[in-house]
């Protein structure tokens, strides 16, 4: 369990059930790593309070540059900063960071393989009331298509912070996907995050659920609920690109069936990354649980996750009825 500051304890009132949005972990990690990595700079596009880069800005105002509402220009500026030796973290909502700036990411960041780190927050439908224009369910797909891009989807506070440092140490472009909704912290503080490595969270022999991001605990809860009836293996796959082929193939061979779970379109995300591996090297049935090629809509984030079946209940239903 992560250490909680006094303030966090007071706000929540209950340290054991402490929840935290991965965007908060992102802002704190930037702040906490700034001294160790003096080349680290942060860009934001008028959403610093929301992406939480404001946490970094408060401590290092001279290393935070607000670009105003201009995501495309911001991404190009980041490319230039990286070309001149800086390690820029570029932040906006996933919709505008990956979506609005896509072509700049491809041509000015990806093609010259520059050391730009994209910290995108407010990913997925759990953004909630802002509705479809802000609920980005396509960013993983977009970023996977850029040659040389690393794509990481942290699941909780501990993994998010570790991923930020791993991104700094990695040479080349990295896309980090963070959420707005507070989620429980389930990783152990001894957890060692490694780019490209999936994590076996629970062993099982009948079927494997491979999940990423804030839905990982839902997969764990589903496996728990089915215990005694169906033996469910659960794998956390924080790096969607390059994806961990070894752990996927082992699961395919040993459990014969896979469900993928992500807060993203079923087109182009984790599900397709997993299916691409199995279809070539060990064909098994892969059922993709995600957003089924539709736009989201306004409503509370947790209610939307239920509506889209991206919950423990949704996974249990799928496994029982398969």
């Amino acid at each position: 369990m992560a250490e909680l500051s006094e303030k966090e304890l007071r706000q929540d009132g209950n340290a054991v059930n402490k929840k935290k949005a991965t965007r908060d972990s992102y802002g704190e990690a930037l702040r906490d790593l700034a001294d160790r990595y003096p080349d680290l700079v942060v860009l934001d596009a008028d959403v610093a309070e929301a992406t939480k880069t404001a946490i970094f800005r408060k401590a290092y105002p001279d290393r935070h540059f607000d670009c105003g509402i201009q995501e495309a220009n911001m991404m190009g500026v980041a490319a230039g900063l990286a070309a001149a030796g800086k390690i820029p973290f570029v932040s906006s909502f996933a919709m505008f960071a990956a979506g609005r700036a896509y072509e700049i990411i491809r041509n000015s960041v990806g093609y010259p393989h520059l050391n730009v780190k994209i910290g995108a927050t407010h990913a997925g439908i759990s953004v909630g009331e802002d509705g479809a224009t802000h609920q980005c369910c396509e960013d993983i797909a977009l970023m996977r298509t850029v040659p040389g891009m690393t794509v990481i989807v942290p699941s909780d506070d501990i993994e998010a912070k570790a991923a930020v440092e791993a991104a700094i140490l990695h040479k080349g472009p990295v896309y980090l996907r963070f959420g707005r909704l507070p989620v429980s912290i389930f990783n152990d503080s001894s957890y060692k995050f490694e780019i490209g490595k999936g994590v076996l969270l629970r062993d099982g022999t009948d079927i494997t659920v491979i999940a990423c991001g804030i839905l990982v605990p839902q997969a764990m809860a589903a496996a728990e609920e089915l215990s005694g009836k169906v033996s469910v293996r659960v794998i956390n796959m924080p790096t969607v690109k390059p994806v961990d082929e070894e752990i996927i193939l082992k699961a395919a061979r040993e459990t014969g069936e896979i469900i993928t779970l992500e807060e993203h379109s079923v087109i182009g995300g984790l599900g397709d990354a997993v299916a691409a591996v199995t279809s070539e090297k060990c064909p098994v049935r892969v059922k993709k649980l995600g957003v089924n090629d539709v736009f989201g809509h306004s409503g509370p984030g947790d209610v939307l996750l239920k509506e889209f079946d991206l919950t423990k209940e949704g996974i249990v239903k799928l496994i029982v009825n398969r």
């Binding site: 008028d46 607000d66 670009c67 509402i69 802002d130 509705g131 479809a132 802000h134 209610v303």
Partner: protein
Amino acid sequence: MDTAVKKQLKAMACRVRMGVVEGVYNAKSGHPGGSLGLADTLTYLYMMRMNVDPENPGNPERDRFVLSKGHNAPVLYSVLAYSGFFPVDELKTLRKIGSRLQGHPVMGTVPGVDMSTGSLGQGFSAACGMALAGKTDRAGYRVYAVLGDGEIQEGQVWEAAMFASHYGLDNLTAIVDNNNLQIDGKVSDIMSVYPIDEKFRAFGWHTVCIDGHDFDRIEQAFEDAEKTSGKPTVIIQKTVKGKGVSFMENAANWHGMAPNQEQYEMAMSELAECLKQLED
């Protein structure tokens, strides 16, 4: 402007503001600041200027309105409701599951909404397209687009500005809502856009600068726009973000925050008081 008419407009703007507060309070989220600041201009446009008909919202001859800063949906919904496009009571469903009043405007589901917006900068381009279609069809309709002063930091806005003057879209009127606030702070501190008028003039636009809470000046500006031929007009209006609710005025934190019950009651009583004085 006739004083009786002006009084009626002011009263209507008060009701529109109450609709904004009602919506955002019930939604427990949303964007009251910019919405309140825009209420006077939108009230004037819908009550006095635009050729729109709630009985026939899809009329091809109608004037078009694009809220390019789509986060101010609460004021668009409110003015549409008070213009008869849908029941005022529906404003309470803002941002709720199943409601057509989404967090950002969606065309095709809400009568009177001409373009889906929410990603800043894009609505303005769509408005250029509508105006271009009007020109090529020799149709008589006009197109109005409202932009935020933070929004005009987007490069796409200046691409659209160049496009509109190049094609002589004099049937297009842009309104830049100059409240000098965006999310992270003052526009002049975050990423200065000034001088706005000179920039638009350099891009080939006719420019008019007004106080966006003065109905006489608002009326003159739109008349001026309609008389201008050969080039598009931009109305740069100084407004107070949060106008009409004292504790929301000029406060960056009310950009995207809902009032709690106590704040809601304070806001509604201020607006009700304002309405009462106008109706006496």
